[in-house]
Symmetry: C2
Subunit: 491 residues, 2 copies
């Protein structure tokens, strides 16, 4: 019996056996894996969650990767207040209609009953626009390119960990420009930043598109989004970028003196992604054994597991394991040496699979003798022996391959799960049987959008920017339609 067979011995994997299969109940699987892998836990406040250290470490890696891109495109971070006076929120009519029903209100501070209620920010346009009206005076002050990492609160009736929580973490960019064209360019630039970030770092393929009027941000002229497909065939909006036009500039009086001497209102954008990306990461890549974290955002990219049965083997195996971990660390790999005595190797395999560690490196007495480790990929469970001297080269290669393969598999799944419908009956059938994305022509009328929703429980996820299907007939009313849009049931 080799070192590596030995490790599936009794005692292994008790807690993974408790994990619901995805096919039995995806939603339940999701909730269990989030808790068992210790990404997050329920908080004792309605709709709130605790992001546990392992989950937060993933979020920190996401943040770093996105923050770098935000800064490389010329933006700076800042911090605006948590509280917004009620009157500010009310200034932009659509904005207040959209947000007022779902905000938390502070009505008392210390012993004092507040004269004016404060909103706990659901988003920060109102407070930021007020500041911009004070900071911007000349065309020389433009563009203003500011981003904020913050917590926001929306009083949600139905919540689900990461996907929809009363409080969540996000970044919100807020920019001001001299012309409409610059604002539109910025809106699309950040949409592309999101696509690149989500596809490159999270290995999640997304479709860039425009939201329908009904689905756009309260106060925006145009909302763009990146849309992803989850493992259960439901869509998820992964990030949004809004062209705000001059809506906010006019009500908050944000003006500048242009080079031609005239006083003009600025043109604005805002854009954001949230901790719901954590949920997407779980639902796109996970399987019945748990998470699969893409190496680029994995807090532990490789776990080294020493295997020994006899005390005489212990010292040599542990020393080799330490050396391997140290070599990999020097090569820039985030590595964890799991030398905990109280657990069997098999138990550890299951735990690290559940937690989605991309690569497992097993090291037993025979491996020491032949100066190798056995590398096991989490995603496809492929095994290969890697010589010690080759470790610092091969492991980074394997991690890169895993990253690419995760993306490719998610892309293949999405393509397989994308179907075309010519009629509402077809769409209903497809979404009833398979879920997934349905590409269908839409004439642009809200009434047709509503009817599709009523019949198929599906919304228009977006009007893709890259659709080249050409004109056709609206899937609902049969009238002429310029292009196909993407329908799906969605989170």
């Amino acid at each position: 019996m080799s070192d590596h067979e030995a490790t599936t011995a009794p005692g292994a994997g008790d807690f993974v056996q408790d994990l619901t299969d995805q096919t039995d109940d995806f939603s339940r699987w999701y909730g269990e894996v989030v808790q068992k892998a210790q990404l997050a836990d329920y908080a004792p406040v309605r709709g709130c969650m605790v992001i546990r250290p392992y989950g937060f470490a993933i979020w920190e890696l996401m943040q770093a990767a996105l923050d770098r891109r935000i800064k490389e495109t010329g933006h700076q971070n800042a911090y605006f207040p948590l509280f917004i006076p009620e009157a500010f929120l009310a200034k932009e009519a659509e904005h207040v209609q959209g947000f007022a029903p779902q905000v938390a209100w502070v009505t008392q501070g210390g012993d004092e009953r507040l004269q004016e209620r404060l909103v706990v920010r659901p988003t920060s346009e109102a407070i930021i626009c007020h500041m911009y009206s004070r900071w911007i005076d000349s065309h020389r002050d433009l563009p203003v390119l500011i981003n904020q990492w913050a917590n926001v609160v929306r009083w949600e009736k139905v919540t689900r960990m990461f996907l929809r929580t009363t409080e969540f973490l996000w970044q919100e960019g807020h920019t001001a420009h001299a012309t409409a064209e610059e604002a539109e360019d910025e809106t699309l630039r950040m949409l592309e930043v999101y696509r690149d970030f989500i596809e490159t770092e999270l290995a999640i393929p997304v479709i860039k598109g425009r939201k329908t009027d009904q689905e756009k941000f309260a106060g925006a002229v145009r909302t763009y989004a990146v849309e992803a497909l989850m493992g259960d065939g439901k869509g998820l909006q992964a990030g949004t970028s809004h062209n705000l036009g001059q809506h906010f500039a006019k009500v908050f009086d944000i003006t500048f003196q242009d080079a031609d001497g005239a006083r003009k209102h600025v043109w604005q954008t805002s854009w954001g992604v949230t901790t719901r990306l954590m949920g997407a990461l779980v639902m796109v890549h996970g399987d019945d054994s748990g998470l699969k974290i893409p190496p680029r955002v994995a807090p532990v990219q490789a776990v080294v597991i020493p295997i020994y049965r006899k005390e005489t083997e212990r010292a040599a195996v542990l020393e080799a394991a330490r050396q391997a971990a140290s070599n990999l660390r020097s090569a820039g790999v985030r590595v964890y040496l799991d030398d905990r005595d109280q657990y069997t190797p098999g138990w550890k395999y299951n735990e690290h699979e559940l937690r989605g560690v991309p690569l497992r490196l097993e090291l037993g007495p025979r491996d020491v003798a032949s100066r190798q480790v056995v590398a096991v990929r989490r995603d496809v469970r492929a095994k290969e022996a890697v010589a010690w001297d080759y470790l610092a080269v091969r492991v980074p290669q394997l991690l890169q391959e895993i990253q690419q393969d995760l993306f490719q598999r998610a892309l293949d799944f999405r393509e397989r799960s994308t179907r075309v419908a010519e009629t509402l009956e077809q769409m209903e059938l497809i979404l009833g049987e398979h879920r997934g994305f349905v590409r269908a022509h839409w004439c642009g009328k809200t009434s047709c959008e509503d009817e599709a929703k009523a019949r198929c429980s599906a919304t228009i996820r977006c009007i893709p920017l890259d659709d080249h299907s050409g004109p056709g007939k609206c899937v609902v009313c049969g009238e002429p339609a310029e292009t196909r849009v993407v329908f799906a049931k969605a989170y």
Copy 2:
């Protein structure tokens, strides 16, 4: 006339002339410099501030430097909810007494009037202890070493930017241990982390000490702090580390099964530093021309300023300036090439002095001819010519020297401003004339602490850990006292 004299030409420094002198009104100088250097601005919500991009970039560098130390000492980051149910806050008697008068209350969510009011966290012991009671079960789960970066709210009556604001940013560490000794070790370990961080990165010397019972954290057994002296001779508490004993463990029922089989309550600590460190940075190093940012936390460590009068000089100077900036960037220096056309070099000098950029690199036509730049230190205004080939070596050296000199100057100031008092009359006289720290014996009685406060408007900043003055007579009552403590007027 050399290139460098030319730059103090008319038009330079208009806005710096408006800066109040420190000696005229330190408090006013502080407020002005914070706003003019664009560290922060007042928000339209009482007691709240906006941290502007330049201020936030400094805070991000501070965060990175401290976060690294927090992780190197074995802690992990996590995120807990903003809201705390009223009943949770009320569990620990001292804790609720200390915080209830100064919290913001959420009483309404959406259209719904809440059954139980929610506290916007003033600190997170209550919610974190609740979670720990669910997560901790065995001695194998200990220690729990978690940190959180978050915003907190305390409804303050009198506020001042960075130093005391209704909302502020901070990190709060929360740990749980199997024994009292481990908790005390952790409390002191983090105090030392704070000392090292604040002295090394912010170039601010601090005194490590214990707070008196009156000044300790609401709910703690012992509070330790690092105390700094500001440029106006007032003290400022720069960070605190609390040994919570079993106070919270008992009311939140956080227990573990020990190796001996017995069920025991954990021992806890908590520790934090806040954005008030930004205020300390301003007040310790700043002068009548503005800020002096220590190079290690300076978003711009060196600014390159091209100088030319004729259009014929322009291309060569700009090309050399670009080359210099690029060389420095490759050497790891955070450098900004200020090639803005609309401002004179003199105007730029003043702006970057106001903003505290550690090093200015002037580059004119004659410098191009002799292949050099003129480096001017912000702290002492010393000038030296540096050959282009030597730039990537000399600039990092200069930055290191500035960092050390800023620390040494602050330390010298503190030593000069620290006096010994044997009687309350002496202390009153010293604090009336000079402010600064007063070292004096104290018997340990709260009544003597109160009397000193009433007479001298000074509080006991801390009982230093390193005081070797030996026994003496209490500065108030004359009774035996074991050691000297540090008194000061304080922020």
